[in-house]
Point group: C2
Chain length 338, copies 2
């Protein structure tokens, strides 16, 4: 068993109170005593129990984080941002990968409650389960602040840091038009997802503004996964009349699209130009030059964590939503080379 504060007290011939004072340097301690205590601590390699401390302080210093999939770099980057701030501010993270599974999310919330987390971060949309929503409301009612990262509008009763999907899609579409494309399509995610809807709207509005028509058959509804995107693109590319450019709603979908293009022995951007959402670092590293809408994911994480800390310090804040505008990175795949 590790040494306790009692052991230190005995060895240094002082009371536990004095040791505690030295540890937290609070209150008065004679210099001589302090050095003696510190020496003993060093000697016995003592480290105070965070557990006991938490119990006494009624502060766990822990933040719960729920992510749909840590392997997705889009989310992993947000976590990086969260971690950075949490480290600096002395908070510990309890990270749970929910696998987009309602049950797992429920269990996580339960575990978080037992751990007495002080705050909660939820990346992307929380489960739509009524039970989950109730749980979240219950937490908030019990002074556990919650901040959403790029979540669903349905939950805008909570604080959140969002990405401006509308604007991102809008900018991308304009860029395609400026590159000289007349007929432009979109490869988009599930309609049930708020970001997908926003992107679609951004796309459509931009088209209208530019005086272009967006044909219904050029709106390809996928599910954010690469497989569906592959089939949709392949089908689309075999049509006689078809778009010369595509706005692609997620990095996974870009992959499926590229596979379709490559299987049909076509070329980007000659046969099909595109701009994607999210970074595609891997592809750019091998020199494929994919133009993208870069969401500032790391920053989302940082801002969310900072916001949470503000809440922790001052419970009486107005609910606030921060919206980050993505930047366009044009690298060539949007060109019109006809």
């Amino acid at each position: 068993m590790p040494a306790t504060i009692k052991d230190i007290a005995k060895a240094a011939q002082v009371s536990r109170s004095t040791v505690s004072r030295v540890l937290n340097d609070s209150g008065y301690v004679k210099e001589e005593t302090r050095t003696r205590v510190l020496a003993v601590i060093e000697e016995l390699n003592y480290s105070p129990s965070a557990i006991a401390r938490s119990l006494s302080n009624k502060r766990s210093n822990t933040i719960g984080v729920i992510v749909p999939d840590i392997n997705n770099p889009f989310f992993a980057e947000m976590i990086k941002g969260v971690t950075r701030v949490a480290d600096k501010e002395g908070y510990r993270l309890l990270l749970v990968d929910s696998d987009e599974n309602n049950e797992k999310e429920q269990l996580a919330l339960q575990a978080f409650q037992e751990q007495r987390i002080e705050g909660l971060l939820i990346v992307a949309t929380p489960a739509k389960e009524k039970k989950s929503l109730e749980h979240l409301r219950w937490m908030r009612a019990h002074h556990i602040p919650i901040v959403l990262l790029d979540g669903h509008v349905k939950y805008d009763e909570f604080d959140g840091v969002f990405i401006d999907h509308y604007q991102g899609a809008h900018d991308a579409t304009i860029a395609l038009v400026q590159a000289g494309h007349k007929r432009i399509g979109i490869l988009t995610g599930k309609l049930s997802s708020r970001p997908a809807m926003e992107r679609l709207r951004g796309f459509q509005d931009a088209m209208t503004e530019c005086g272009l028509v967006s044909y219904d058959e050029d709106i390809l509804f996928g599910d954010y996964g690469h497989e569906k995107a592959y089939h949709l693109t392949k089908e689309m590319l075999t049509r006689k009349k078809r778009p010369s450019a595509l706005f692609v709603s997620s990095n996974q979908m870009v992959l499926g699209m590229m596979r379709a293009v490559s299987e049909l022995r076509m070329k980007i951007p000659q046969d099909l130009a595109f701009i994607g959402f999210d970074q595609l670092e891997t592809l750019n590293l091998i020199g494929m030059n994919c133009s993208t809408v870069d969401a500032h994911t790391v920053e989302v994480g940082e801002l969310a964590m900072k916001r949470l800390i503000q809440r922790l310090e001052n419970e009486k804040l107005e609910t606030a939503h921060t919206v980050l505008r993505p930047d366009l990175s044009l690298r060539g795949s949007e060109a019109n080379l006809k």
Copy 2:
């Protein structure tokens, strides 16, 4: 403040002991009493404090995990494996991304100690700092079992689950030879890294076994990063006499290599064939068909966590090293099309 066991006891008109018995269903409790207590628990939405429990039990149920970089899928997958087992067995993970930074690793170990972790997992090589090693030894001496995941041989005094880099490189090289290549090179990582050394040895032995010479200038020493790999490959490809195939030691290096090939307007595998280490899911998804040595990373995570649990249950086990043999996935990039 959340309800405590005392509140439940009062509301149900029993003692704390009885409530505790109901919660852990240990000891005798009359059925009638049990249901009454459970009703109150439900009503007050009570959840026992893991913190208080830990203090009393002297069990934190927490495992510390140190990873060099969560964003690297190679490591992220191991974490997936670890998580899966930990979840099932009721352990909590304290995950720290060390950024391959000694100081951060030290701080993490310190924090882990305060959290009274019951076991420690270290992904890839722990910091070479003498201080870290001492810390690890100290932990082990204090009954905190440690399991290394794909770590450095220097630390084989600890339990570990490793990937057979030697065998992987060996198999890959043989495959290149069988594909018809005569002159084969290797793009390898830092020599200070044990995996890099192992891969190099596997490569060289395979060459010798096949009766082929490996020229010194065909051994390209990188640092696992894509940038260095890019330059090395580019230089190599401009030589008059050069390998027709490469064994590439990491997925990052493959990226650099491919950029070099693409910039020189060369083709894979016509101008340069290769087999890489680690999966390259992204590239395969877009139909680039990269042959790779697949290490079973998820399994490494699972086995490591299982091993740790064994240790937790029985401290008196012999130190054991599990070595997993990777599998070869040939997808075309190794072909000899001259």
